[in-house]
């Protein structure tokens, strides 16, 4: 714990971390391309949410829940359902987060996680259609950070995907313009799974899954969504205005690919319990 209520970062902190990296070390003893311990618990909101997951990435933790509702499709895509991811930086998670309407960083978090899910076409929008132009399923995945010790994006991405993969909802149909349950329980039509991996640049070094102290002194970060076929489906440079070279971007991509499989396996293992 600590009081980070002022955003001032001391040069001492920066130099300490940068010097350590030059020696090939990180503050918490991890390798540069090593994630913190990952724990995934699914179905934590079993009674009310259609899907849910609690993810702990080191001392960062988030809970994600999925609600499946029936609504009207957008006029420009009458035969497609809607998937939406939102995230909120609730002040319970860190002394840094303040009450009030979402600020830039909270909006970025939500949009980056949303893009990871949407751009990889995780949920097959066409299969979410109940009746064209009239009724479609709307899938809302909402993320609430509980503890913030760096890298909320990856933790949120893992939680949202685990929650989507374990979502179960009753099938509905239109009968005489009324919605009725058919009695079937469905899983979401999942096409693909893309998980986001965030790499932080500090001077000439890059490290994956930064803790809060590393985030404080980073020049910038690069978030990459990697899908099951090891394709990149979304990317975002953020977390500071520092520039990054093409060479470092390539190394960051390699780092993401290196971790992608083990994180995917951890998710698959966790969602197996729900069948």
């Amino acid at each position: 714990m600590g009081d980070y209520s002022s955003h001032t970062i001391s040069h001492i902190d920066h130099d300490f971390i940068a010097d350590l990296l030059r020696k090939g070390e990180r503050m918490d003893g991890r390798g540069f391309s090593e994630y913190r311990d990952l724990e995934i618990e699914v179905n934590v909101v079993h009674a009310k949410a259609e899907g849910s997951a609690l993810v702990k990435l080191g001392d960062t933790s988030v809970v994600a829940g999925v609600k499946v509702l029936v609504g009207e499709p957008y006029p420009d895509s009458p035969d497609e359902g809607v998937t939406m991811v939102t995230a909120e930086m609730s002040p319970i998670a860190s002394p840094l987060f303040e009450l009030g309407p979402p600020k830039e960083d909270a909006i970025e978090l939500a949009r980056v996680v949303d893009r990871g899910v949407r751009e990889s076409e995780t949920v097959d929008a066409k299969k979410l259609c109940i009746e064209e132009g009239k009724k479609v399923y709307m899938v809302f995945a909402d993320v609430y950070p509980l503890e913030y010790d760096g890298n909320l994006i990856d933790a949120s991405s893992i939680a949202v995907n685990a929650a989507l993969l374990t979502t179960k909802y009753p099938e509905m149909k239109l009968e005489d313009k009324k919605l009725v349950e058919t009695g079937e329980i469905l899983s979401l039509p999942i096409n693909n799974v893309a998980i986001e991996h965030t790499v932080s640049k500090i001077d000439e070094n890059i490290i994956i899954d930064p803790i809060l102290k590393e985030e404080f002194v980073q020049d910038c970060r690069l978030t990459m969504a990697v899908d099951r076929e090891n394709n990149f489906t979304a990317m975002q440079k953020g977390g500071g205005a520092g520039p990054i070279s093409m060479e470092l971007v390539e190394r960051a991509m390699d780092m993401a690919l290196e971790s992608a499989e083990s994180i995917r396996n951890a998710i698959d293992e966790a969602v197996k319990s729900v069948e």
Binding site: M1, D3, S5, V44, V45, H46, A47, K48, A49, E50, S52, D59, S61, V63, G65, V66, K67, V68, L69, V70, T86, E88, S90, P91, I92, A93, S94, P95, E98, L99, F140, D142, Y144, L146, E147, Y148, D149, Y169, P170, E181
Partner: protein
């Protein structure tokens, strides 16, 4: 979208409730202290299917400044429900209900806190309802008072809270979701166990005076039981923490004789 069906009866012919409880029986309640590392104090409660986490920050500088109280700390309670905590998705923006509940929770907790020790500061209590299944404001008070104690905020007492009510003509403690929705009335209450003072009292539905007094007496008894659970949870957290410390190598043991070898080793480093 989880379909909600009104149960045929709230009290069975055998006198049991929808979830099989007796009328004066609480739901299984699990309290945990120290569940969040970033917060100065925290606690979680699982009461039946209700699941709530409370985190406390402070005393710390108050923003915005115009809320400052010159003679004591401002107790700011923020009760929020996750969008997925209820059968239909809750709209993400804070609702009027959430704001009112935040206020009544603050009023329930304030009497036990020595806020005058921290003029001009704020003590922030953030409450996140992860799953709502009835009695969330009372469960939130149970967790929040533990989180305040965990944060080391000086306080006279913990504050236990419970909702009592009536369904099918019977008085019940610790209402579940169906009993709350389809029952005849609901009385959430919180007390200071040592003095018996009531710090939260709300009511809806219809009761005679006799019923209300009897219901409140049942509520006070349940609060006393919850108070024991709260004290146990607090002890568990701190006893466990000192156990963890013993496992650390840099902690020296009382028994010097048997530990001599290890002590020497450590000096070598």
């Amino acid at each position: 979208m989880s379909p909600e069906v009104k149960p045929d009866f709230l009290i069975s012919p055998e006198g049991l409730r929808v979830d099989g409880r007796r009328t004066d029986e609480m739901r299984p309640t699990e309290l945990k202290v120290g569940v969040l590392k970033q917060a100065d104090g925290s606690a979680s409660i699982r009461q039946g299917k209700t699941y709530i986490i409370a985190g406390v920050y402070g005393p710390r500088e108050l923003h915005p400044r115009h809320l400052t109280l010159n003679d004591r700390a401002y107790l700011r309670v923020t009760y929020r429900m996750a969008t997925f905590s209820v059968p239909d998705r809750k709209r993400p923006a804070p609702s009027r209900r959430e704001k009112e509940i935040s206020m009544v929770i603050a009023n329930a907790l304030r009497p036990v806190l020595f806020l005058e020790e921290f003029p001009k500061a704020v003590v922030d209590v953030f409450i996140t309802v992860i799953q709502a299944d009835g009695g969330t404001r009372c469960a939130a008070i149970n967790a929040a008072s533990l989180a305040l104690a965990d944060a080391g905020i000086p306080m006279r007492s913990l504050v236990p809270a419970v909702a009592v009510g009536m369904a099918d003509g019977k008085l019940l403690v610790d209402l579940g979701d169906e009993e709350d929705k389809y029952g005849q009335g609901d009385v959430p209450m919180a007390i200071v166990p040592q003095t018996g003072e009531i710090t939260l009292l709300q009511q809806d539905g219809s009761f005679t005076k006799e019923e209300l007094v009897e219901a409140m007496q049942m509520g006070i008894n349940s609060c006393k039981y919850l108070h024991e659970l709260q004290k146990e949870a607090l002890k568990r957290a701190y006893v466990k923490r000192s156990d963890d410390d013993d496992d650390d190598d840099d902690d020296y043991d009382d028994d010097l004789e048997t530990d001599l070898g290890e002590a020497e080793l450590m000096e070598d480093e």
